[in-house]
């Protein structure tokens, strides 16, 4: 019997009222793997992550963490079960200091960790240590994204869900966070990465699923990263 | 205005219900009649509140100010001149020396309520949210304070008595019908629909050129006029009134009626007013002498308010969108076959 995937979606449908935003979506993310999820605006990417996180109920199908169904669990309990979401738009607390924002991430940390609890964030993004007393709202966009990722990491999640982390960042900052993803995977954390930067995502991830209109359109491998036409075709064909 | 069949049922549902209650009032014993009349006047008040709060979505704790103004205007102006000299000694001579009949007093109440609401609304309708709630509440406090302390315009802190009790079954029913028809015509009108649309999305409404301030002011004024009118009906029902009767308790009770019925529909306003009044009457009777319906309900003395408040809280907790779900009255074709065949109308899920 194969080992249970870290995260598994099985024929999931998610609805807003009577409109279904995601249909029949199945995907697996193995341990310490990066899996990409790309697609045009409104494809249902955020909706998928919200369903995993328990912010939206799955109307049909099942979502499993290490083989255990997550049905009907609240976002806070899913967070404490080891899934962390870096939401679209970062959602940092601008009036709080950087350190306070990071300490909020500890709310979901499970027992049994020693040492500086904020170390996972500070090691990956030293600038956060430097600015830890500043109000988070005063950071640059790239630094705020680092803070949002750092805040998720201090909870020591098994699975990190990222919703368009590169949105609105300068090219250099984008390089920075993509590099960080590799480092995060290296310590054994599983990543489901939702992105608009299709090419970079395809190159980074072991598999990248293309979601269009709420349905899985195609799956790309790293080898397809140079094949711009294939990626564009996946987006456009309807 | 075109009125399709659905629109007519939206009016006929509440109207027929009110007529039914009016008819019951005429057949009830003298001691029970008051309960029915009270329920009908409550309908007028709650419908008046609905016209502003329900349609605009802006919370107001101030509508009872207009009921108070209407009640005291109609009351003071319809006490016969010869009695006034004795009971309202400090009042302005002009008010003391004139009186009007029943219908003119109701029209006066409506006009004053509307005018007052218009004046107050001009500055206040710029507000929304809690700020609007508190500002309108401030209006209620000021109105109450002035009516209570300024004995040149009314009885002050004393009871205004000797008001002709002209609100019988006919007047209470007609009054409630007038309120319902006015509310219906307004909510079906272009302006009413614009305001309701602005409730759903103020930004979009503004962007397509709706002047929200103006539309709200209009609804507020109309609501004020209906509230003043209802106040007139109320004072002619009671025969005597104090400022405390048109103050906090009435504000909370009528708002609760509206929310319990379903804040966003005329049907909800009517159902809420009748249901809560009905419950209150039932509990009063049960407290006094026991009510026999299959089983004899007997309440321990003093527990009426406990039950009333508890049931209201319970309804709101169990059905937060109100008894009607905030929807208008509709005649639907009932899916008999589906029901009897046991087939669920929803796809399995």
């Amino acid at each position: 019997m194969p080992e249970a995937a870290a995260l598994e979606l099985d024929e999931v449908e998610v609805r807003y009222g009577s409109v279904s935003a995601v249909r029949n979506l199945s995907l697996r993310v193995g341990k310490a793997e990066i899996v990409g999820l790309i697609g045009p605006n409104g494809a249902g990417k955020s909706t998928t992550l919200h369903a995993v996180m328990g912010l939206l109920p799955a109307h049909r199908g099942e979502i499993r963490l290490h083989g255990q169904p997550l049905r009907r669990r609240s976002a806070e309990s899913i967070a404490r079960a080891g899934i962390a979401l870096v939401p679209e738009g970062r959602r940092i607390f601008g009036d709080f200091t950087v350190e306070e924002n990071l300490r909020l991430g500890l709310a979901a940390r499970r027992k049994g960790y020693m040492g500086d609890p904020l170390a996972p964030a500070f090691e990956l993004f030293p600038v956060l240590r430097e600015f830890r007393r500043r109000p988070a709202g005063a950071l640059s966009g790239g630094q705020q994204q680092q803070l949002a990722i750092g805040r998720a990491l201090v909870s020591r999640p098994d699975i990190l869900l990222l919703d368009e982390p590169s949105l609105g960042l300068a090219p250099l900052a984008v390089d920075g966070i993509f590099k960080a993803f590799t480092e995060i995977r290296e310590v054994g954390t599983t990543i489901l990465l939702v992105e608009q930067r299709a090419q970079r995502t395809v190159a980074l991830a072991s598999r990248t699923h293309v979601l269009v209109g709420g349905e899985l359109r195609m799956t790309l491998g790293p080898a397809d990263a140079e094949d711009t036409e294939k990626i564009i075709a996946a987006y456009l064909a309807s | 205005m075109r009125l399709p069949f659905d629109a007519l049922t939206e009016l006929l549902g509440p109207a027929l219900l009110v007529i039914l209650v009016g008819a019951l009032a005429t057949t009830a014993s003298a001691s029970n009649e008051g309960y029915f009349l009270n329920a009908l006047v409550s309908v007028s008040v709650v419908v008046a509140i609905y016209v502003f709060v329900g349609i605009s979505g802006v919370l107001s704790f101030g509508q009872i100010s207009f009921v108070a103004v209407g009640a005291f205007a109609a009351g003071v102006m319809s006490v016969p001149v010869e009695s006034k000299k004795g009971v309202l000694t400090s009042i302005f001579p002009f008010l003391r020396d004139h009186s009007v009949g029943n219908v003119p007093s109701l029209l006066l109440a409506a006009a004053l309520g509307g005018a007052f609401a218009f004046l107050v609304g001009m500055p206040l309708m710029r507000l929304s949210g809690l700020a609007a709630g508190i500002a309108t509440f401030a209006v209620l406090e000021i109105t109450h304070n002035v009516l209570r302390e300024w004995d040149k315009i009314g009885p002050g802190a004393t009871t205004l008595a000797l008001v002709p009790e002209t609100t019988g079954a006919l007047q209470a029913t007609l009054g409630a019908l007038v309120a319902i028809v006015v509310a219906f015509l307004y909510q079906r009108s272009r302006r009413g629909r614009l305001l309701r649309a602005s409730r759903e999305d103020p930004a979009v409404a503004r962007s397509v050129g709706v002047n929200i301030h103006l539309e709200r002011l209009l609804a507020f004024t109309l609501s004020g006029a209906l509230a003043g009118f209802a106040g007139g009906l109320y004072v002619h029902l009671l025969g005597s009134i104090t400022t405390e009767q048109v103050y906090l308790e009435l504000t909370f009770l009528t708002l609760a009626m509206l929310v319990i019925g379903g804040l966003t529909s005329l049907w909800g306003a009517v159902i809420g007013a009748l249901a809560v009044s009905g419950l209150d009457s039932f509990l009063s009777r049960a407290e006094q002498s026991g009510v026999h319906v299959v089983y004899t309900f007997n309440l321990w003395e003093g527990t009426r308010l406990v039950f009333l408040a508890a049931i209201m809280a319970l309804v709101l907790i169990v059905r937060p969108s109100g008894l009607t779900g905030g929807r208008e009255f509709r005649l639907r074709r009932i899916p008999w076959r589906g029901r009897w065949a046991g087939a669920s109308p929803k796809p399995p899920g």
Partner: protein
């Protein structure tokens, strides 16, 4: 100005005293609003329940009586959360508010029944009354309770500010008040945060019950009802979106009421409410998001 001449040290003391009590109530209301977005109209009935507890335990040692008061108020506050607030969490603000009206009436009706068992309306809470005596400061008589009220308010506010700033539960509560959805996403436990807010708000109501019964030992079902309404007004006028603006609003409305009352010519004090509420309207029109809410205007479209 001749009006100001009538404001002496004594009046100022009263103004600070009432302002302090109202500030405590404002914190109690503001904390719960922060995490639940619920305006608890029934807050005054928590205080009323505390006051009745003080009245019914008058024969006990003062400390025991005060402890009983706190216990009853906190228990009632928790019960209110469990039975009413929790089922209402996803309801609209209007429904929440109206439900708390009903709860307020319910508690008053229950109090009336309990109160009337002895055939008279109202009970007297006299154990804490000695605090009402005056002490002389620089030739002016100021009631002890004024100092106690100001002291308790300052102490409670400083303690709360420290807890909110320094502790984990404080951090979580602030996060929940600013963005509950994101806070939960991060694993902040909603029930724990709400429980904390409800308990602290209950403790504050208990303190207010003690302070108010010192000033007015005659307890009846409408005890603290009017004060609550005034504080709610003050809280919104100050800016309900933030705890400290709400608190300042509560303080300000208590403080200003006493001063306006003293400044009005004696035969005009009957119009005190009109003057105060006219001020309220003016302030709301000028600063709808709150008098003390600098630069945060858009946040009010909530109810």
């Amino acid at each position: 100005m001749s009006v100001l001449a009538s404001i002496d040290l004594n009046t100022l003391g009263d103004a600070f005293g009432l302002g302090a009590i109202y500030a405590l109530m404002a914190v109690g209301i503001g904390l719960v609003f922060g995490v639940l977005r619920l305006v608890n109209f029934a807050y005054g009935q928590l205080i009323m329940a505390g006051a009745y507890t003080l009245a019914y335990t008058t024969s006990w040692p003062v400390t025991a009586s005060i402890v009983a008061c706190f216990a009853v108020v906190v228990a009632l506050s928790l019960a209110m959360d469990r039975l009413v607030f929790r089922p209402l969490r996803s309801s609209s603000p209007a429904v929440m508010l109206v439900t708390t009206f009903a709860v307020s009436f319910l508690l008053q009706a229950v109090a009336l029944i309990i109160d009337l068992r002895d055939g008279t309306l109202g009970e007297v809470a006299s154990a804490v009354a000695p605090l009402n005596q005056a002490i002389t400061v620089g030739g002016v008589d100021i009631r002890k309770v004024t100092f106690v009220a100001v002291g308790v308010a300052l102490g409670a506010l400083v303690a709360l500010a420290l807890v909110l700033a320094r502790t984990t539960i404080g951090l979580h509560t602030r996060a929940a008040a600013s963005d509950f959805r994101t806070a939960r996403l991060l694993g902040v436990r909603a029930n724990r945060v709400i429980g904390f807010a409800v308990v602290v708000s209950g403790l504050l109501a208990g303190a207010v019950a003690v302070l108010l019964t010192v000033q007015n030992p005659f307890v009846q079902p409408a005890f603290a009802l009017e004060d609550t309404i005034v504080v709610l007004v003050g809280v919104v006028v100050g800016g309900i979106d933030r705890l400290w603006t709400a608190t300042l609003g509560g303080f300000a409305i208590g403080f200003v009421s006493v001063l306006v009352n003293a400044a009005l010519p004696t035969d005009q004090t009957i119009f005190l409410p009109s003057v105060v509420y006219a001020l309220v309207i003016v302030v709301l029109l000028l600063r709808p998001a709150g008098l003390f809410a600098w630069g945060r205007r858009a946040a009010m479209e909530r109810v």
